[in-house]
């Protein structure tokens, strides 16, 4: 890894660590949320930004992680560590099944198929209301939220655990896209037929991308549930499939640091506007239209295009 790439991403993590000691309480809590949601965005970016597959249904993976963690934790009392792994496994399995089916389609059909599968997952959560408690959701008690001896209901611990997960996702994807197989994903995004005629099995690579992307999204969902003690159906709604698309478009698709800044900007934009009006999703709508029109590369993408060509 070149020194400047190392410095940039290590620097971001170091700044976030410093902020732990500097931020006032309110923003400290916000940043913990932003970092977990940034993991979700990073997961989405593996599929959208690096492989070129636009999913409109990632909420199902986020929710699979969240419920795969929350249900056994709440009802079986298996402990936060095992529950987290169960969340990861649920998301990975769902991603494998959805990938096997949805990857038979391309383009617009792929978008609609993922949208429909995600809607089916959301409705299933509502249908199983006896266990999931539907829109009301499950509140995880404080003793349930002790992960490897760390009490996740403590804001300081929560921030550092969120930072740890974020750093893991950031470095993990940075490693992935510099691997030979990660390069193939980029090649598929750029020119699928050419990549196939270089001898690469396109379907297998795309399937792997769906599973990796779904699993990272699921990890974010499971972590979000554990850290903030709540598992609810609203996280499986269409809105939560649109958010990662919006974050990644805003931050810069196909960049490693872009998703974080996309989440950060959008989080504060919505946080500010929801103080003014209940129609805060208007901001999301306007942002989507403006981004597709004027900045399809997003913040980090524009940065790369204009000044910093080495940005991974």
């Amino acid at each position: 890894m070149s020194a400047r790439v190392f410095a940039l991403h290590g620097g971001l993590i170091a700044v976030l660590l410093a902020l732990h000691f500097l931020l006032p309480v309110y923003h400290h809590g916000n940043f913990a949320r932003v970092m977990v949601l940034a993991c979700y965005a990073i997961g989405y970016n593996v599929l959208f930004g690096y492989t070129g597959l636009l999913s409109l249904g990632h909420a199902m993976f986020f929710a699979a992680g969240m419920y795969g963690m929350g249900l056994p934790l709440h009802y079986l009392g298996i402990g936060a560590e095992l529950a987290f792994l169960a969340g990861l496994a649920s998301a990975a399995l769902l991603a494998l099944v959805v990938g096997l089916l949805a990857l038979r389609t391309v383009g617009v059909a792929f978008m609609i198929v993922t949208l429909m599968f995600s809607e089916a997952v959301y409705l299933t959560i509502l249908l199983a209301g006896r266990w999931t408690r539907g829109d009301e959701g499950l509140v995880l008690a404080r003793p349930e939220r002790v992960f490897l001896g760390l009490d996740l209901s403590n804001p300081d611990i929560r921030y550092l655990v969120a930072l740890g997960l974020f750093a893991l996702c950031l470095v993990g994807t940075l490693w992935l896209v510099r691997q030979p197989s990660g390069r193939v994903l980029i090649a598929i995004r750029e020119n699928e037929e050419r990549a196939q005629l270089l001898g690469y099995d396109i379907f297998r690579h795309k399937l792997a991308a769906v599973v990796i992307s779904g699993t990272i999204s699921g990890a974010a969902g499971a972590a979000y549930g554990l850290m903030f003690g709540y598992v609810g159906a609203s996280f499986a709604e269409v809105q939560y499939s649109i958010f990662p698309l919006l974050w990644v478009l805003l931050g810069g698709a196909g960049t490693i640091i872009g998703p974080f800044f996309g989440v950060l900007f959008m989080f504060y934009l919505i946080d500010l506007s929801s103080g003014l009006t209940s129609a805060y999703m208007l901001i999301a709508g306007v942002a989507l239209v403006l981004l597709t029109l004027f900045a399809p590369q997003g913040l980090a993408g524009e940065l790369r295009r204009r000044w910093v060509r080495w940005l991974p």
């Binding site: 037929e193 050419r194 270089l198 690469y200």
Partner: protein
């Protein structure tokens, strides 16, 4: 000597229209073979079936004694076939070296040093050594064609299929291209689909002429040049048609 690539009764119809009809074709190892024929003779359809971009309606394809008729394209490439597109198809937004590295990496895997060596060697060989850091989309058309060839080379294929590689090249570039292909013939078998008859006559060991989806004639350049049937079907329409 057994053939490296052979087809038996290979056919393709589009909505009842016969594009390629019962073609028997044998390619010996080490040969430079040219495939020629008027526009619409089925050349591109034929090679598209060879590499697996389209599925034949009937017939079989064997590569190195193995039936590959049902194999997907990427598996054929993995067996040692390489294909360069008629319409330039490079990864325009990636740099030139990465284009070639993608071609080399499937074979060499994680060995970064070996990939870098192979990439540099392939680029040097086609004369693009100084352009490694440029974006492929920023290269001139002629250089993009050469990049295609470099991507073919980096795969170290046993059979290299070049679909109209000299299309759009300047005369000066064609001379260099001819030298490159003659040089390559020492290490790989080459199937060349080509319109430019000067290139064909200069390079090919043997020539196969397709017309209306069938093999009209096959032989050495001299034989083909002398063939009356080929004259009327093809050369009669102009030597560089």
């Amino acid at each position: 000597m057994s053939a490296l690539l052979s087809t038996r009764a290979l056919s393709k119809s589009f909505a009842g229209l016969r594009a390629v009809h019962e073609v028997d074709f044998d390619l010996a190892p080490g040969e430079i073979r040219a495939l020629i024929g008027p526009n619409g003779a089925g050349k591109t359809t034929f090679v598209s079936m060879l590499i697996g971009r389209i599925a034949p309606t009937s017939g079989t394809i064997e590569f190195d004694g193995r039936d590959i008729t049902r194999l997907p394209a990427h598996a054929r490439v993995a067996l040692g076939m390489a294909y360069t597109f008629q319409i330039t198809s490079v990864f325009a937004r990636l740099d030139v070296a990465e284009n070639v590295a993608l071609a080399a990496r499937r074979r060499l895997g994680r060995d970064r040093a070996a990939v870098a060596r192979e990439t540099e060697a392939a680029l040097e060989r086609v004369g693009l050594g100084q352009y490694g850091a440029a974006l492929a989309g920023d290269l001139s058309y002629g250089h993009q064609r050469l990049l295609e060839v470099a991507m073919g080379l980096a795969q170290r294929p046993r059979l290299l299929i070049l679909d109209e590689p000299t299309q759009g090249l300047a005369d000066s570039e064609i001379a260099g291209f001819n030298a490159l292909i003659r040089d390559l013939a020492a290490e790989t078998t080459i199937l060349l689909i080509e319109h430019n008859m000067d290139v064909v006559m200069e390079l090919a060991d043997r020539i196969t002429v397709l017309n209306f989806g069938e093999v009209l004639a096959e032989g050495t350049p001299a034989e083909i040049h002398a063939s009356a049937a080929v004259q009327t079907a093809y050369l009669g329409t102009g030597a560089d048609a």
